[in-house]
Amino acid sequence: MKRSYVIKRILYAVFIFFVVLTLNFFIPRIGVSDPAERYYPPQGAMSEIEYEIIKQYTREQYGFDVSTFQQYIRYLQDLTHFDLGTSLQAGSPKVTDLIGQRLPWTLVLSVTTLLISLSIGLLFGTLAAWKRGRWQDTTLLNASTISVALPAFFIALMLSFYLGFELELFPAYTNPNMVGQFDWSWKAIQVVFNNAALPIMSMALGGIVGYSQTTRNSVIAVTNEDFVITARAKGLSHTTVLYKHVLRNAMLPLSTSIGMSISGLIGGAIIIEQVFNWQGMGTLFLEANSTKDYPLMMGIMLFLSAFAILANLVTELFYVILDPRVTVGDKR
């Protein structure tokens, strides 16, 4: 029955999340004899005995004075309040706050890239499928080959150089005032997109190619199906055939593909964000890494993993809803 399948998938997702949680807890403790050592203040002029007292006090402050198992339980408890921990940055901001500040900016990049790749990809793909074997199709194939071999950050550097430094069409680096001066005015939004142009272009190329290929092959596959041939034989115009039958059915595999990309939406932009200095989750993670801010780093990783699990789950369930044929333990 569908319902049991849905429940099974949800339970399974929870199980995976739990495993990821545990891994997340233990990873910073790999090879480190005293996990509290990052929190100790510098010894300065203190004597050995003084420093020991300070170390003990620090351990108490950060919760390292109890056994590992108890720390783990506390970690789980904090998670139930959606508390991912406190960052080591000056001022001790909460990890969830930091993520909340930066997440929307990464989403601006990722979602826009997704929309653009999708829309252009759909159209290119359909065109290539329609013109199968002709120049449109082969161009697409060649473009695909090339785009897979060119890393996105290389494209980003070249774009930054030519369009940013040489031609000055777009800012080569993100304006650091963009975040602080954002006030939801039309002007501010324009500034944001002007700065986002180059990062989006770098990421969109691969996306366009991917979605084009997926669409093309879906469309070709569907076009060969009986019901389409039937529709054509009935004398329906190409337009009707195309929109009403082909595309609608080709959408299904495409939507699953979109679902899959969403899970990689946030973590995938790390290198591009770094090239352009875009203040998103990617650069937050790299900053945390350079200052060895493990609470922040692991908090971000947990967030990304949770997001991926959720995205996968939603996609699978969506798929189940859309495709009536996929059932488990069907009546047949």
């Binding site: 007292i53 940055q89 252009i120 065109l127 304006n175 005032n177 002007k187 002007n194 190409h238």
Partner: protein, 650 residues
């Protein structure tokens, strides 16, 4: 077919939509620096993030200490060249003798002879149970000094700040960021005052026998400092004074001064700093990528003609996370100057540009090659025992070709440093006799080889010397930026048959030299100046112990000499001893100087003019802030009086 044209043109729609969206912003990019007509200086700062809390002892990373020093004041500021203390929150100070009379000469400066004879008293330290010598200092504050909320700065603020710096119970070792160890005011770990060393009208001055008039009760502070000349330096020039009336009600055991989990009130104080410095934080305008400082109209120090001491009215610090981005910003006019020092590689980029001012200031850090002479027994090995031999070290020191390093690694933007490790510009005590590593390089190479031929005559087929059949080989711990330097040292030492290899400095303490002397050699930047010789010479050449053995040189004769230098109360004698110490240090060949890099920084000249090169600093320094003038964009000429004139009203 009817679909063909539709398909062909359909993809234009999202493309055009996207293009419009992206390009529309092009017209609207405004960089405020280009259009701002006010007296606002835009400074680019390269850092991963800006601080959001502005308590001076919360952090010493990045721009935080600089901002703290602009928002808060110390008692005095230090003049590197003369060694004098310039008034800041305080106007005057002197040592006092047993009768409470000032120990000064007719001209007003400290009478060192009388100080030695009559100024020293003794007490018993309740924590170590030993007797210690101490001096009494009397400080007079400037009655005009104000906090930015209008309250006057009083002696009780000074008491509060110094007191809490010594009280780890309440301050969570915030005081470790300022060197207050020479102030004899001691707390137990449980927060009980065991020895009082700070006295004001309201805090036991009378009981101690220090007379303070009713009229000046808010301006006078007495201190008991350890009986060394350098004790007052850090207390006067590095401790930023906090307002007692704001902090005292808030700080407690649960919410310490330097708390990692501050409560609401503490957090509010962190984010809305009230200081007595020349600038005030504009909290509304500041954010994660921008910090705005406004000139404090109530700042008590002014120029001679009563004009504000600091010429720049507003400072706008802009965050850049990457140096190249920041340089691009300066070149495009998005900011007026950069706070960072640049590698000399970039100088070529600025050639021929009239709108940029390139400042190449004398550096204060010297890169040295440090040997591990003194490993703990677990880290002893035959190679390191070689390093304990002074002749081996001397040979290596002689083989280092600093001219080549300056030319090829530092691109010419560096100067050699004497082996005594004191800068030539410190003319009061610089000893040219310590400059034993300067000379004809070929001759030095010959000497080095001669020395080693006696000790390690055997060589393998690649001309490297052998110790008991094994190639003499050392690893040099360094960061990624030092790889190039170490590669050049490699080929230089190859000429005397010694092999060295780069070893990455790790991020955990176990893999850096700070851990039980687990290294052969390392690259270290050292800085010795008049202000820090007391602390630094001791730290580099004497202090041992703890797990960070550091492989330190420990020589009893040197130790005694340094102790004497540190403890003498006669300034002239101190300079004499420093003079004599330098050849001694040089001949130890323990820290071999490589070069001292110049500090290269840039500023634009289209909005401000009057920049000056300040030794040891980038263009973003106090002198420039006090004197640069805004160019009036209307008539293009300098607004008012030329830079550099006008002393400071004391």
């Amino acid at each position: 077919m009817s679909t063909k044209p539709r398909l062909r043109t359909a993809w234009l729609v999202p493309v055009l939509a996207g293009a419009t969206l992206f390009l529309s912003g092009c017209m609207n990019i405004d960089y405020p620096c280009r259009t701002d007509l006010t007296n606002t200086l835009y400074v680019g700062v390269v850092q991963s993030s800006f601080p959001t809390a502005f308590m001076p002892w919360l952090s010493r990373d990045g721009i935080a200490p600089t901002i703290a020093s602009m928002l808060y004041s110390t008692l005095f500021s230090y003049d590197d060249d003369t060694g004098d203390f310039e008034p800041s929150l305080a106007r005057d100070w002197y040592y006092v003798d047993a009768q409470g009379l000032p120990i000064v000469t007719e001209s007003g400066s400290t009478d060192y002879d009388r100080l030695e004879a009559e100024g020293v008293k003794t007490l018993t330290n309740p924590q170590t149970r030993k007797t210690e010598q101490y001096l009494t200092v009397r400080i007079e504050l400037d009655p005009r000094a104000r906090w930015s909320d209008g309250e006057p700065v009083t002696a009780d603020d000074v008491y509060y700040t110094l007191d809490i710096a010594r009280n780890n119970y309440l301050s969570n070792h915030a005081g470790a960021l300022a060197w207050t160890a020479d102030l004899l005011h001691l707390y137990s770990n449980a927060g009980e005052l065991e020895l009082q060393g700070i006295f004001t009208f309201n805090h036991g001055a009378a009981a101690q026998g220090y007379a303070i008039d009713e009229a000046e009760k808010d301006q006078v502070v007495y201190l008991h400092v350890r009986g060394v000349l350098g004790a007052v330096t850090s207390l006067f020039t590095t401790v930023l004074i906090l307002p007692e009336h704001l902090w005292e009600p808030v700080v407690s055991r649960d919410s310490q001064l330097n708390s990692r989990n501050p409560d609401e009130r503490t957090q509010s104080l962190y984010q809305n700093p009230v200081g007595s410095g020349p600038y005030v934080l504009d909290v509304e305008a500041s954010g994660p990528s921008q910090i705005v400082l406004q000139r404090n109209a109530q700042y008590h120090l002014t120029k001679d003609d009563a004009r504000p001491l600091y010429a720049v009215e507003t400072i706008n610090l802009i965050l850049y996370q990457e140096l190249n981005v920041a340089i691009y910003a300066v070149m495009q006019g998005h900011v007026d100057m950069l706070d960072s020092s640049l590698s000399a590689n970039y100088v070529r980029l600025f050639e021929g540009r009239d709108d940029l001012y390139v400042s190449a200031a004398e550096g204060t850090y010297v890169q040295t090659l440090v040997f591990n002479l003194n490993p703990v027994s677990a880290e002893q090995n035959p190679m390191r025992s070689l390093l304990a031999d002074e002749n081996v070290r001397k040979a290596i020191a002689l083989a280092v070709d600093t001219e080549m390093l300056i030319r090829l690694v530092a691109n010419g933007a560096a100067v050699p440093m004497s082996a005594g490790l004191i800068r030539e510009s410190l003319t009061d005590f610089y000893n040219p006799n310590a400059n034993i590593l300067a000379g004809d390089q070929a001759e030095q190479l010959r000497q080095a080889n001669a020395l080693l031929d006696q000790l390690l005559p055997e060589k393998d087929d690649q001309e490297y010397r052998l110790l008991d059949g094994q190639r003499v080989s050392f690893t040099v711990l360094g960061s990624v930026g030092e790889i190039e330097l170490i590669s050049f040292l490699e080929i230089q030492l190859q000429k005397i048959g010694i092999e060295i290899r780069y070893q990455a400095k790790g991020s955990s303490p176990e893999t850096t030299y700070l851990y039980t002397s687990r290294f052969d050699m390392t690259i270290q930047g050292v800085i010795f100046s008049l202000a820090n010789v007391d602390i630094m010479l001791n730290a580099h050449f004497v202090a041992l112990g703890r797990t960070s053995n550091y492989g330190r040189l420990v020589r009893s004769d040197l130790t005694t000499a340094i102790e004497e230098m540190r403890s003498t109360l006669n300034l002239h004698r101190k300079y004499e001893l420093l003079y004599d110490l330098q050849p001694a240090i040089a001949q130890m060949y323990y820290k071999v100087p490589l070069y001292s890099s110049e500090i290269v920084s840039i500023a634009r000249t289209d909005r401000y003019t009057g920049y000056e090169v300040v030794p040891g600093a980038t263009v973003f320094n106090t002198t420039n802030l006090q004197q640069i003038q805004r160019i009036d964009s209307a008539n293009g000429a300098v607004e008012s009086v030329a830079a550099g004139e006008g002393g400071v009203t004391r």
